[in-house]
Subunit: 356 residues, 4 copies
């Protein structure tokens, strides 16, 4: 198990390198009878795609997905759904000059330390292009969870020192930063432009939410819902931190403030008056909105000169050329959504085995 699979019952296996023939995913364990076609999956992929705006890198690929198996007459059959996207726009020659250099902040050195060799073209499998398979699979999970009304959406909530103060959901897809705050969004755009001019890059935070999650999802102890979400998010390239609900801020509060009192809702259901828990107690969903935040480091690929060593261990200077994003945030949004969708789909299926 080389680590390219995720999930227990709704289980995906991704494959593909940045500059190889194709990237893709096999979804094994999707229940039979779900309406599915390429259009559904393409919708999420298009949101992940590069070349959407000046916020993201200049590489332009249609990323047209092809369903190779698992769907018959517009419905899933219960067999593996293989989804493939051909790589059509890879310019490998960009990378020849750095094949013997370790780019700071990149996985060049660690992959060689692990495997003894690496596919240096565009980062190989450590490229952000690897997330195509995640997002495609996430599209399937979104369709599956849609049958019970679960809705997942994300947005940029922080870029460098700029913090969004509002959550206007309609705003998200209207600005290139996918920021939900119409006032802060243009400031973020301007800051990215500045960083690009400075040949530099910026970090930030993305928040993802899921509403209508049934209570009871998540397994005790190791496969807690938040534990699996944590793994899901920290498996995304560039992510360095994850928190649930109040998260690190919970460290600042007393139990009497942080506890969410239970209350009976008008519709007879039980809920909590506040949601510092972010929708999870004891690793199991409460039925309240799931709230997850992930911190992304500034992209390691910057066009300014940096100090490093080469494969022989000699001191060297490096300037990373190629088409790179000054920030990952807008494209991180659909990827983080996908990972949350995958965790929820898996635990929704697992939950079916909880009672006699």
């Amino acid at each position: 198990m080389g680590g390219s699979s995720f999930g227990t019952l709704f289980r995906i296996t991704t494959f593909g390198e940045s500059h190889g023939p194709a990237v893709g995913v096999v979804v094994d364990g999707c229940p039979a009878g779900l309406e599915l076609d390429e259009v559904v999956v393409q919708r999420d992929l298009d949101r992940r795609r590069v070349g959407q705006s000046r916020m993201t890198s200049a590489r332009n690929e249609p990323d047209a997905v092809r369903i190779l198996s698992g769907v018959f007459e517009g419905r899933t059959t219960g067999t593996p759904i293989a989804l493939m996207v051909e790589n059509t726009n890879a310019r490998s020659q960009d990378y020849d000059t750095i094949k013997d250099l370790y780019r700071p902040g990149h996985a060049d050195y660690t992959w060689e330390a692990k495997f003894g060799l690496r596919d240096y073209r565009g980062g190989g499998r450590s490229s952000a292009r690897e997330t195509v398979g995640r997002v495609a699979a996430g599209g399937v999970a979104r369709a599956l969870l849609g049958t019970i009304g679960v809705r997942v959406f994300g947005y940029t909530t922080q870029l460098a020192h700029l913090h969004a103060k509002q959550l206007v959901e309609d705003e998200i897809e209207r600005n290139p930063m996918r920021c939900a705050d119409p006032e802060v969004a243009p400031q973020m755009v301007a800051l990215v432009e500045q960083a690009r001019r400075d040949l530099d890059s910026l970090g930030g935070v993305v928040e993802v939410r899921a509403s209508n999650v049934p209570p009871g999802l998540g397994e005790p102890v190791f496969d807690k819902l938040d534990a699996d979400i944590g793994k899901a998010m920290l498996s995304i390239p560039a992510v360095k931190g994850v928190e649930i609900g109040a998260g690190f801020d919970a460290a600042h509060h007393r139990g009497s403030q942080n506890n969410d009192p239970f209350e009976r809702r008008a519709d007879g259901t039980i809920g909590t008056a506040t949601n510092h828990a972010g929708g999870i107690l004891g690793g199991i969903s409460t039925g309240e909105e799931l709230i997850v935040r992930v911190a992304a480091k500034p992209p390691a690929s910057i066009a300014q000169e940096q100090q490093t060593v080469n494969r022989m261990g000699e001191s060297a200077l490096i300037t990373v050329k190629g088409r790179h994003d000054p920030t990952v945030l807008p494209r991180l949004v659909p990827v983080a959504e996908a990972m949350l969708l995958l965790v929820l789909a898996d635990h929704w299926l697992r939950q079916r085995a909880a009672r006699v």
Copy 2:
């Protein structure tokens, strides 16, 4: 798979409830030939034990571990190592008054939503007592990793608004907060005493480090070293956030600041001049120190009156009696160490399959 197992090759399965006959763990996949006995495991368990100080709850159990299998003539045999601790000091009657009430911030409601019933005695399996098995297994992992010089240690770095400013390793076990800053430690102790008098509880942050980790550990994509660490930490009761290296603070920095330049060391090895990455690049260890921080919420059990509902959905007031910690931090330290040890032991074994 009810979620009580963790790891791929070095794989543990824990069992046991707070007020059942015993808690324990089965470690499957520990290599043969490792020197091991009860003394080694007991050392870590003793650090986790309650009743060590006024910082922790008053329940006092020796937590004497018994090795049931997998060790012969002082060495592991390659077969499952079963470790058991009998529960000797459970006062179940403390909980009878609240068996029909959902304690705010606890898993009472979510477990019932999941399973339709719950063992309400002392939180059942959602009790912190569940971590006995983790720490026992972590002791085995510590012995295993000790054979290659890996060293893991943790400490409290934040309690409410109090932040440690120094890292004096010898100080850690000298104060009841396991704070590595001799100046801040007594302030933390005082703050806990105050919270106890206020019938309230406090959150905070624990940092765990691993040194001497060989480069190359971690699998690409989903089983990244940091992803598995993230899952490990978020599976611990009360943990609401986890970050690696610069973590959420990386959001504030530019790529030119955050990238760690590679350099050749005097001993010929390759390292980084800084360590914002926290010892992991692309999900694989760099050989630099691993740095992980986990945020813990204030314990949900507080002795003051809180608003809630009962199992019938009726409004009710609750006062949580019993022996509870005003903060989990000192006891979180050995548990977080154990989880990091388990991840490292597993990935060290997995790494053996990386090359032909």
Copy 3:
């Protein structure tokens, strides 16, 4: 993963050596709400126990099972069920004389080749005593499947050249060979007595059946119901072959004979007129009776002198002392039942995720 776990959702992990402190099992993933107590589990364990008759070895242990977790007020809670049996009657000194010799037909040599050392007392973990955990877990599975009316039972169908010709279910537990043919049973008993006098041992075949299995159990491709049954059975010590339905005999028939015609039953359900398939088509249960046969080799431990080598690779003669069965068949019956029960319980839970 040292190979001591079995199952995907209903997942067991066994532990323990023949002469260690205890043997046992952790059942993770048993649904909540199942009525369970020690009496239910003990029933199966008692059938596995040695010392029942002259057919089996003279070691006499009560094998009293203790439930350590996962059950509260007579019902499972959804958490791991740990079951332990203490070893009370181990005479380790029997084995000192052979600790440096490789017993023919035993795992002494292969375990050393694998692990570099072995627990030589009573075969350590390769002892038949390892099956205690399987049978205990099988008892839980039997209770679970009993809620939907599934019934599993086994019997000896062949001993050396003696073949049972009838299946009289009530006869099975009446004779020490667990043979379902009242005419052949006494001949089998006599043959075992003869083998014992000859200081030799006998092989044979056990058949296990499951009735009332719902159609639809089993996953396509690798986790076919028969594939998992095959693994389950071949993981039992001494088993060298497994077949489903017509099995090896299907090689002798034409398609027109071997195909089972579908027909509509009086009750409106669909079934097959014959059952050469043994209740499985395409890896998925048909609803007809499951029929599985396992071949067991003659026990390797025989009291006559055999040629072998010692750990230094020197030629040596060996006489295996100790308390050994001249045939494993009567005790194989409950173990094979347990393994079939475990597979069915797992696939019954997995089946819940098959459709939207």
Copy 4:
């Protein structure tokens, strides 16, 4: 986990239906540095391909494999190796007449019982075409194991009442039955021709051997080498039985006959004088030749009229048209080889974690 993955460290996931766009496999966990290209994989696929002779069905597809990922400059990189074969010659219209009928001996009824619907074109995923992915992955495993000299080969040893009496390895690929006995091979060919004229089909037995397997492969208890081989073989379509070494015949022998005496070889290694164990003791390889036999039922698709029911449960007659093999044996050989190779590759990697 829909059951389309196999293996722990060397782990494959197959996908694809008989009449969908493509079939294929993702191999995750293959070590880095292995020489690999399409030619190596194609070699095994060509042996599996239909249209090779009159023994097999008339469907003719080139089955040209394409490596989509995981290989760079002629070597594996440690990342998933995706292998795809496009379906180019599917005549779906053949199946329209039977889409509402349950073919006897086929998985039509059971798949519907499980999933509520089925892809009826050519058997969908229960078609023998699903084995393309297994054989492609087996080719990778063969290359990997070739680096340590392991050699795996199979042959037809029984067709209906015809038993091969010799093992002439060079003969295997010379006759369309892949029978290793030059005298019996033409009789088998004649018998298949007769069955075809009779609109009927034949069952038989394939034997697979592995030489040069290092001692020590296989994990104790559930993941025994023979248990995993058993699962591997019984997961192949049409296989109804599997045995190791003496197998079911061991039931006829006494311990004194069946035990293989250990002896010291001229080269100083330890081996056994006989090999009734088939190369496995206690679930772990001895270093002797691995010997596995699998029984295949006669193909269910026969051109003569059979009794069945339709989806409405009404009695009906069926004649299965299409291009079908009168026996699966020649094509079963490379599939069974592939499955054995996959098990060995996986356990070879797992073995690396057995000792400190």
